[in-house]
């Protein structure tokens, strides 16, 4: 049941803060229209926040895996505002293209050798979207130890997502020929891939604001 004062949320919650004085730039007078609602079906009830990252210790960096990244990628890792996890297997880690932006990173990989025919994507974001009334739901699967995860398949593309280091990660596997490739037949491969991801570093900067 919703509290009786719930309408305050969207009505007069900050009425006390409303300024009675004329605004600095007075609104232009216009007649109110009586048009049917157009693009926006309902008000958007959400908030956006940037999570603070909980960094692993520097000595937790897997130097062995990091050394298999290209020099360009290692430089990009050092700029990442999030802890970077990448696959550890040769044929994947050495094929990593790393995209680093302020609030996310994405490792895009076209596998080779044993991993030929696979597109692997590992990403993390520190931006979270909060929606009113959205209940907490924990994934029924487990990856990387005992971390709750959602493991699903989208048009044959397997993905696992979980929370680690205070932010959400996703690993995905797409097969060039999904109907013929056992690695895309079920969740086994993507779960193994998630379990084996290695921490290769980041900026270790305090994250959050902006």
């Amino acid at each position: 049941m919703k509290p009786a004062w719930l309408p305050f949320f969207f009505g007069v919650a900050l009425g006390g803060a409303a300024c009675d004085a004329a605004p600095d730039s007075a609104p232009v007078s216009k007649a109110a229209g009586e048009l049917p609602a157009r693009s926006r079906v309902v008000p958007i009830e959400k908030a956006i926040d940037v999570r603070r990252v909980s960094w692993p210790r520097v000595d937790e960096v897997d130097d062995g895996v990091a050394q298999n990244l290209s020099a360009d990628v290692r430089q990009a890792v050092a700029r990442s505002s999030l802890p970077v996890l990448v696959p550890r297997a040769l044929g994947l880690v050495d094929r990593t293209v790393l995209i680093v932006r302020d609030n996310f990173y994405a490792a895009s990989i076209h596998g080779s050798d044993d991993y030929a025919g696979l597109t692997v994507n590992v990403s993390a974001t520190r931006v979270t979207h909060r929606y009113r009334g959205m209940p907490n739901v924990k994934g029924r699967d487990r990856v990387r130890g005992d971390r709750p995860a959602f493991v699903t398949s989208n048009e044959g593309i397997w993905s696992a997502t979980w929370i680690e280091n205070g932010v959400s990660y996703v690993v995905e596997v797409e097969c060039a020929h999904p109907s013929e490739d056992a690695r895309c037949a079920d969740s086994t491969f993507v779960e193994r891939l998630a379990d084996e991801l290695a921490f290769v570093g980041g900026s270790f900067a305090e994250g959050g604001a902006q």
């Binding site: 009586e34 926006r40 079906v41 999570r51 994405a106 398949s153 048009e155």
Partner: protein
């Protein structure tokens, strides 16, 4: 009986100003065929027999562009449509697949985990068809500006600055490469049937993937975002929203935003700190502009379109910051408010009370402490000036009275703490919908703890520890839920550092400090940052 929406009948506009009418007339002439006929089944209403949809009115990507360059386009199910494996027969080029109304097919029957679907499993996105069934003809365009973060055998992912990922599947004729920066509306490929060697029907499978607080990085419903974007694509638009950024001081950011052609519902103001919309790196913070303000009643004929919010604590650092503000009615283009941008330079004064350790990131997230709005970096020395209290609970335990739904408490250290009013609930981002009902007898058995402070103030120490500044554990007399300010005598000492509202200081060590001037100011104009206003 099915409910259908015919939302865009702008030609029926009445009671518009002459200028607005003229604009609409031009838009009307420019509208392509199929515009006036557009209708769509409500979200969550799937093809009968194809599963249980998610009834969800949220627009998860409110400003995206429709992901095809031109219309008409048709959102419906390719599996349960003509030519689909579960369809009524015929082939994919059947005219029924290229007609209105649109049908939602997010959560359509599938076997794989989908936490937001009623069945817990389902289809992750929305199938959309172009004007006809011919492949590699119709351009797919970027729904939002961002970075191409992956290209697979039949998928393209583009990630926007706010972390939302836009997925485009089954395209041909790709025009982009991994790492490319793309702008909203840029051609990225063509509608096709690529599916790893086994063709599907000619369509675009479109996903939105977001980190949803409390759930994780999951596929969210794209249907209403597509509806919104499609209406704009088809010219079913009115005038851009308007508004003004009126005041930015150390106490408040305020203004108004409205769609003057449709004031029946509030729209968002969106704030960008030290950046601007579309720059690819700055996150916009939405604030619902629904407060009543007398001057708006006469000026625009509708009162409830103002917004006000306290400054983010993380920016009370004595450094100049810029805020740019926009009006957003959900259409692809944001309208910058008059008076925007503005700058502020503000300091922080440590409130009195005790410090309570926030144990870890999980607890921080469970309490929904915002790194932007609620947390400020301070030295360990400043933190140490506050006496240490009990560790903060791992998560807020919200309870609501079964006899009076206006009475909300937090259970803390075995005591019940009143959330004194709606403002406070908003400021703490307490979601009342998630509170546990408790009968009055059970509530009466619990001793009273301090009333919750008007807003959370969280200190991020040099050491990396997080501390909530809170009251010492002592019972207080609850105040009524309609109380204007709430709180207690020694709380809420987030202060502008001077009367001019924008000079800098970091006094820090005055643990008991709570300047009278600030108290007066706070009670006068409600200088409470309401996180819930960012909605």
């Amino acid at each position: 009986m099915k409910r259908r929406f015919h939302p865009g009948r702008v030609a029926r506009a009445v009671a518009l100003s002459a200028g607005a009418t003229a604009t609409l007339a031009v838009l009307g002439l420019a509208r392509p065929a199929f515009s006036d006929d557009f209708s769509y089944d409500p979200p969550g209403q799937l093809v009968p027999g194809s599963g249980s949809g998610r009834v969800d009115q949220n627009v998860y990507a409110p400003n995206m562009r429709y992901p095809m360059e031109t219309g008409p386009a048709f959102a419906n199910s390719q599996v349960w449509g003509h030519g689909g494996s579960q369809g009524p027969g015929g082939d994919q080029c059947d005219a029924a697949n290229f007609s209105y109304p649109w049908h939602d097919n997010y959560c359509e029957t599938r076997d794989y985990d989908m936490p937001l679907c009623p069945a817990g499993v389902g289809h992750q996105g929305q199938d959309t068809r172009a004007a006809d069934c011919v492949k590699n003809v119709h351009w797919v365009v970027a729904a939002e500006s961002g970075t191409v973060t992956s290209i697979g055998s039949y998928s393209v992912y583009i990630t926007a600055a706010d972390g939302t990922r836009y997925d485009y599947l089954h395209m041909g004729s790709l025009q982009i490469a991994v790492g490319d920066e793309v702008t909203k509306g840029q051609r990225i490929g063509k509608v096709s049937n690529e599916f790893g060697g086994t063709p599907t029907t000619v369509h675009l499978h479109f996903n939105l993937r977001q980190d949803v607080d409390g759930v994780g990085n999951v596929y969210v419903p794209p249907y209403l975002s597509l509806v919104t974007a499609y209406q704009t694509l088809m010219g079913l638009t009115l005038n851009p929203p308007e508004g003004s950024l009126d005041e930015v001081s150390c106490a408040v950011i305020s203004g108004w935003a409205a769609s003057l052609d449709d004031t029946s519902v509030p729209i968002e103001a969106r704030l960008y700190f030290d950046g601007k919309a579309g720059d690819g790196k700055t996150v916009g913070h939405p604030i619902l502009a629904d407060e009543s303000r007398d001057d708006l009643c006469s000026a625009i004929g509708s009162c409830d379109h103002a917004f006000s919010v306290g400054l983010p604590l993380s920016l009370l650092d004595g450094v100049e910051h810029t805020v740019k503000a926009y009006a957003s009615d959900g259409s692809p283009d944001l309208s910058e408010l008059g008076g925007s941008p503005k700058t502020f330079t503000c300091g922080f004064e440590l409130p009195g009370g005790v410090r309570r350790k926030v144990k870890d990131v999980d607890a921080e997230n469970a309490w929904r402490f915002s790194a932007v709005w609620d947390e400020i970096s301070v030295s360990d020395g400043i933190v140490a000036t506050l006496p240490e209290g009990a560790d903060l609970e791992d998560a807020p335990a919200l309870v609501v009275s079964t006899s009076d739904a206006s009475v909300l408490y937090i259970l803390d250290q075995g005591k019940k703490r009143l959330v004194p009013d709606a403002k406070t609930a908003l400021a703490w981002d307490f979601d009342v919908d998630l509170a546990t009902p408790m009968d009055d007898d059970a509530l009466a058995q619990l001793p009273d703890g301090p009333v919750m402070r008007p807003r959370p103030v969280v200190l991020l120490a040099d050491s990396g520890d997080l501390w909530l500044v809170d009251d010492a554990d002592s019972p207080v007399v609850p105040v009524g839920v309609t109380s204007a300010a709430g709180g207690d005598d020694d709380g809420d000492a987030l202060t502008p550092s001077s009367g001019d509202g924008c000079s800098c200081s970091m006094p820090g060590s005055d643990a008991g400090g709570y300047p009278l001037a600030w108290a007066l100011a706070a009670s006068a104009v409600g200088l409470i940052a309401l996180r819930r206003r960012r909605r």
